[in-house]
Amino acid sequence: MRSIKFLSIILILVMLVPMAGCAPKQGNTIRIGVIAPMTGDVKTFGDSTQKGAQLAVDEWNAKGGVLGKKIELVLADDKNDPAEATNAATKMIQQDKIHYIVGSVSSKCSIPISEIANKNKVVMISGTSTNGKVTVDPWPGGTRKPYVFRACFIDDFQGPAMANYALNTLGFKKAAIFYDNGNDYVKGLAETFKAAFEKGGGTVPVYEAYSSSDTDFSALITKMMADPPDILYVPDYYNMVNLITKQARDAGFKGVFAGGDGWDSADLNMQSTEGGYFTNHYSPEDPRPEVQNFVKAYQAKYGSVPDALATLAYDATNLLLNAISTAGVDDTAKVKDAMQATKDFQTVSGSVTFDENGNPHKDITILQIKGGKQTFAAVVKPS
């Protein structure tokens, strides 16, 4: 018994040793926290986010850093789980004393992080969280979180863009929508798509919810097939899209699939989604020099074509570092003001000027899965 006690004391001591080394280093570095899903159901998103942010930081460091200091990335994994995201943000802010956060990827994680960041006056910019609630607290009465920004368009624009494209360009009149009612991002897209599609003269006879643990969609698909629609809108992440589209094809669905930027992954099932359309933040085929230089640098470093997640993480990190540089001082209140004042800043995914809610107004790219590849289909301008 005694030896066990002794052993456990030793073990605790051993575990404490590395913690002592983690004391925040102040002074000659600017540390930026990156919160992203490095593991779990959307891990390719986290992987791309880290690579994009790292590339931006490397480029700044090569030019001498920011405010004369080196920039250091501190990475945390939120597993695409809001509870994990909350823990990661709390630890970053309170233990590591980090002043700037890039992240997270999904809105359901970014919303809790944004509340912690805003309360602690930490400047946060999410690359890819498209839900409106990330920068604006809907309760009470829509208060802006002044320390929170994003580098992407919002769902209020993304859902309707696809709805109008389906109605006007593709000529579809009947849509079905399946959505995860436990995911703010998916729900937001489903709602805005439905509203715009019906407003534009289309009908949505099937509008069905599921939960993220569901694997069997036969009941929903059979319901849909009683009156087959032209288009099935599945604005979920690639993993769920793979499950649903495959089961729908097996059940004889002949229409077109459509979705949002959650489709942008190398792990998307290109066979079952063939012919499908999705809204995205950029196309690597865009000839603008910002895009081509970035694609080249990214390929040189990582050996693959950057997806939208990598691009937006790169853009978000650049926007943040630009704001720190403009503010001229490592003071979050001043950096926040500098960020808000950003005007016509050229990023890979377009020119950024923030509106009063911390959202940039940018174009939407619509991509199609064709021959097992993403191909450019159209660009939608913001109204």
């Binding site: 939960s211 569901d214 069997d216 036969s218 009683a226 499950l243 097996d250 004889g252 099932n269």
Partner: protein
Amino acid sequence: MTYVLQQLINGIALGFVYALIALGYTMVYGIVRLINFAHGDVFMVGAFVGYFVLRGMAKVSLAGAGWLNGLILFLIAVLAGMVVCTVLNIIIERLAYKPLRNAPRIAALITAIGVSLFLEYFTSLKFVFGPDYITYPTPLPMVTWDVAGLRISSIQVIIAVVAIVLLLAMNYIVRYTKMGKAMRATAFDRDAASLMGIDVDMTISFTFGMGAALAGAGGVLYATAYPRISTFMGIIPGLKAFTAAVLGGIGSLPGAFVGALIMGVAEVAAKSIYSTIADGVAFLILILVLLVKPAGIFGRNEVEKV
């Protein structure tokens, strides 16, 4: 009408999947009166073993290129899942449950929950299976038949056939073999069975192994039908199969089978009416059964020994 029949087929197909898991639950309970909560996680391990086999043998050709080769690979994956799960469950029984055989039942139950969590979190470590969602390879060509306007897919048929064959095989083993007799005797009165010269430890190990073999096969079949696996995939099917076993009368093999079919149909029916209440319906059934007929449909009322 076609619509209702199609939903009924969907429900029965889902029920067969639950049946594969529920049979293992109910067998173990019948012998040692233990609800093996780790059963859903053994099912998960089966799915992963099948995945590694299919991935490792993706380039292997045993019978040319066509569907026959796919079928052989698929059967090897199922078999590998069954073997690994059998060994795993026997080890779990020896290490975790056997030392507690004479302890209060609640102790073994809590251990089962512990084993379940251990399997989930240990396997999600990077060097084991990893924490990510994985898309399952499908060696079999998926065919969908159109029978009088009703759509039935090849995987639904395979699951149904495997479930029925395994049920009959288990029923045969339990009723007509020497080992089955030993199992029934152990279930009836463990001490008396031991006095009659039955190797109780061996019998219990055999039961655990057999339940796990079913779960392993179920894991591979489930993952082929719903091709997305993760280390937490066993929790919800495990709970639903458990509910099915209770509904049918825990300890009864036909009970687990019928209970699972009822669960599958009820779930699909609920989903086709209002999609988000399906899980609620599954567990509402559990509560209702426990209130109205705690012994389940095929269960016997037991007198608690004092």
